[in-house]
């Protein structure tokens, strides 16, 4: 037992590159391992068609997790994503109600609404000075209640062709997933090359220092939760396209699930360390894992055990001094 294990004492210098390589390396390694195993299990696993399916299936998780990555990078977390997606998805299909003319205005409105809800989260966190985990759990409950107030059953529907967002493919490549990929590349670029991006890292690294430095800590905190809301809205619209309607519990699973790709992708829950590309790879890994488990032909319960163990394996590869 040594103190060094938990402090930032300088051991060896210039570990900048290796650290990032390690971070993404583990996800990539796991992806490779599962691919190899999958090919051993079934000859259909290794087909291009299957990988294109997995690519498409990563879309929703990748979308929510992007917003989650931002909140986690600032040292927070957004546990209202699930309820927010539920509410926004019932509203989307409920208001559109299969009327083609309403698609664009409603989607625009939902995106704005998502940002407003996210902003409210951000304001509550900044004003109340309560840990985001608690605030967003609270607002999450409120949003879930509102979703059920709006409807207890799947609501409304969407016109034909709307499902192109979710199932559309050009040259066999999922359009939705590709848009998400592009969003990620853009986000990664912005996070590195804009002041806002660097400031988000700084806040998570040392919030107090960020305040002293005069960084717009409050504004940025509100911004990341607003962005998380925006991405929830996009996820909700995507799910409506994929499900053909909105469900009052459509998002329930995403609350905790959205955290997994973030962390598996090497972003530390204590904030300030990590990156969005890791999250994207994390989402791919999880989609691939689900697919692999389906090919494995073992019973559900064994699948759960395997899934948990793989998460444990992945996360125990990262050390995180601080709590999260």
């Amino acid at each position: 037992m040594s103190i060094t294990a938990t402090t930032a004492l300088p051991r060896n210098r210039a570990r900048r590159l290796p650290e990032q390589v390690l971070r993404l390396g583990i996800v990539v390694l796991l992806i490779v391992v599962i691919t190899v195993l999958g090919c051993l299990v079934s000859d259909r696993f290794g087909t291009l068609n299957n990988f294109l399916n997995v690519y498409e299936q990563s879309t929703d998780l990748a979308l929510v997790a992007l917003g989650q990555t931002l909140t986690i990078l600032t040292g927070g977390i957004d546990l209202s994503v699930g309820s927010m997606i539920s509410l926004l998805s019932v509203l989307t299909s409920g208001i559109i109600n299969s009327n083609g003319d309403l698609v664009l205005p409603v989607c625009a409105g939902i995106i704005v609404l998502g940002m407003v809800i996210g902003l409210i989260n951000g304001i509550a966190i900044v004003m109340l000075r309560v840990h985001p985990l608690i605030v967003t759990l609270g607002t999450g409950a409120v949003l879930q209640g509102l979703a059920l107030l709006y409807t207890m059953a799947p609501a409304g529907g969407v016109p034909d062709g709307f499902d192109f967002l979710a199932y559309g493919r050009i040259a066999d490549i999922s359009v939705g997933a590709t848009i998400v990929l592009l969003v990620y590349l853009l986000a990664s670029f912005l996070m590195r090359r804009t002041a806002t991006g660097r400031n988000i890292y700084a806040i998570g690294d040392d919030r107090h220092a960020a305040v002293l430095l005069g960084l717009p800590v409050k504004r940025l905190t509100m911004l990341v939760y607003t962005l998380s809301g925006l991405l929830c809205a996009m996820t909700a619209i995507y799910l409506v396209a994929r499900f053909g309607s909105g469900q009052p519990y459509a998002g329930a699973n995403y609350t905790l699930a959205s955290v997994t790709p973030v962390v598996v992708g090497g972003t530390m829950l204590s904030g300030g360390r990590g990156g969005v590309i890791g999250t994207l790879l994390g989402a791919y890994l999880i989609a691939l894992l689900n697919d692999f488990l389906n090919f494995l032909h073992v019973s559900t319960e064994i699948q759960l055990v395997v899934q948990g163990l793989i998460i444990m394996l992945a996360v125990s590869a990262y050390r995180e001094g601080k709590r999260g």
Partner: protein
């Protein structure tokens, strides 16, 4: 240039500032002095817009200003180097220097290359060589302080406030800093300089303002003041001897209590040996970054040693844990009180008893009354400014936190007490008390190892001195050999080269 008046600020339970005033002209270096907890840092934070005053007025030039957040103050040309580091451990040096005002290219995107180039230039001008692409957490504390200073050098501020900037640097770096500050003064910058090292104030500053208990006491030109008048103003009494004399001469043939042999720790400590004697204060001097803290940490068991043995009271250890060290009667006042010393969200009482919990045991219970009583005793004897044993450590001033830490270990050790920079950030009054405590402990037969970067302290307190340079011990000085020159000689490159 900058003047504040009638500033009042209350924290829950504490009136930190009770009507302070301060006036700084352009092109002067103005010292702000006062005891620990006098309110210097609070005033700094108010001027910088981090906290808003309950009452009072800030004028910048002619205009009355009111900040809503630090960004505004910054935009108005006020730059502050805070007592605590404002650094982001996982960002690079260059990013840290430029954060909040990164250079951009034509597309409005950050220009990392330019930031790195300019950071390198600034650091060169400050005379330190630091890899600007490194994460700041990998730097030594001294280098981190230089990065902190570099941040103030990007563009010329109107007002520059430095809150104990030399607490973790010494020697050449201090000189370089002073040179820069004098140059800024010539450029017409108004500089507020806060320090507990009085020599620095006499060497650098033009005028000074003394505050005490949150109130303005005096503003005077430095020229014409003496050390003693300054101390009297600050503390409200004479301090005849900063370094108390021996009450009785140290033992001539003292017992060896602790022996460290050929200690290796990474690339920082390369085979150091030392002996500590009962009743003797042993100084461990050296340049910042010479590896003194690592050596002490390894002896205490806080860092794993790759090679070497530690012998305490006849028992030899190749590996040792803090638990073992403590049970053998070793105490360790760490230099980084926030990161390695105190539990900030716990009250004073809990922090003091933390290392000697057995003394507040009653049966299976913790004796809360005894703990409280002990804390009250220490608060009185160390003059810790607080509301009582229940005060949260996080709400206390830096110097008072240091006293809490010393109080903890003074109670816990009975053979050896290691003090790493024991008076860092501590005011003269308290400093004298800490020195007397050290003497008292030594008189009771405790061996003391004092790591210090302050030469007067090393010379004034030590009975023996080890000097370290770049991970090795370069010399041992006994009694009369201990002079500032001798220590500097052993500690610096020049001699080796000669």
């Amino acid at each position: 240039m900058l003047s504040v008046s009638g500033i009042r600020k209350a924290f829950p339970g504490v009136q930190a500032l009770a009507g302070v005033k301060l006036e700084v002209k352009a092109g002067e270096i103005h010292a702000l002095v006062g005891e620990n907890g006098a309110g210097k840092s609070t005033l700094t934070r108010i001027i910088a817009g981090v906290e808003s005053p309950d009452e009072g007025e800030i004028r910048l030039g002619e205009a009355v200003v009111q900040w809503h957040g630090p960004a505004q103050a910054k935009a108005a040309g006020i730059h502050v180097i805070y007592q605590e580091f404002v650094l982001f451990p996982h960002l690079t040096v260059a990013e840290n220097i430029f954060l909040g005002r990164m250079p951009r290219n034509r597309l409005g995107l950050l220009d990392h290359a330019q930031a790195e180039r300019r950071s390198r230039e600034i650091l060169d001008r400050l005379g330190v060589s630091i890899d600007v692409r490194q994460q700041v957490r990998l730097l030594t504390v001294a280098d981190q302080q230089m990065v902190e200073i570099a941040k103030a050098m990007i563009d010329t501020p109107k007002v520059l406030i430095l809150d104990e900037p030399t607490a973790v640097i010494a020697g050449r770096e201090v000189e370089l800093l002073f040179t820069r500050l004098r140059r800024l003064r010539e450029a017409g910058v108004a500089i507020i300089y806060i320090s507990h090292r009085l020599d620095e104030i006499f060497a650098l500053c033009d005028r000074l303002t003394v505050i005490k208990d949150g109130q303005w006491i005096a503003t005077q030109p430095v020229a014409g003041m003496t050390r003693d008048t300054l101390i009297t103003m600050m503390v409200g009494r004479d301090l005849a001897h900063l370094f108390p004399p021996h009450e009785q001469p140290p033992p001539a043939q003292p017992d060896v209590v602790l022996q460290a042999q050929d200690i290796h720790v990474g690339r920082r400590v390369l085979g150091c040996s030392l002996e500590l004697h009962a009743g003797i204060i042993t100084g461990l001097a050296g340049m910042v970054g010479s590896g003194r803290s690592e050596l002490a940490m390894a002896i205490f068991g806080g860092l794993p040693m790759e090679r070497g043995t530690v012998t305490i009271a006849g028992r030899s250890f190749r590996t040792i844990t803090p638990g073992q060290a403590i049970s053998l009667g070793i105490g360790f006042v760490t230099e980084d009180r926030k990161g390695q010393g105190l539990a900030m969200l716990q009250p004073i009482g809990a922090n003091i008893s933390a290392a000697s919990l057995e003394t507040v045991r009653r049966g299976v219970m913790r004796d809360g009354r005894r703990e409280w009583q002990i804390a009250e005793e220490d608060i009185a004897s160390y003059q810790i400014a607080c509301r009582g044993p229940g005060t949260l450590v996080s709400t206390m001033s830096g110097g008072n936190q240091q006293k809490v830490l010393i109080a903890r270990w003074a109670r816990a050790c009975h053979r050896v007490l290691i003090l790493d920079e024991p008076t860092r950030g501590v005011d003269v009054g308290a400093r004298a008390e800490i020195y007397r405590i050290m003497r008292g402990l030594a008189a009771r037969g405790i061996a003391i190892l004092m790591i210090s970067s302050e030469l007067p302290e090393v010379v004034g307190m030590s009975d023996r001195v080890y000097v370290m340079r770049e991970g090795s011990i370069t010399g041992i000085l006994e009694k009369d050999e201990i002079t500032e020159e001798a220590v500097v000689d052993l500690a610096t490159h020049d001699r080796q080269a000669a």
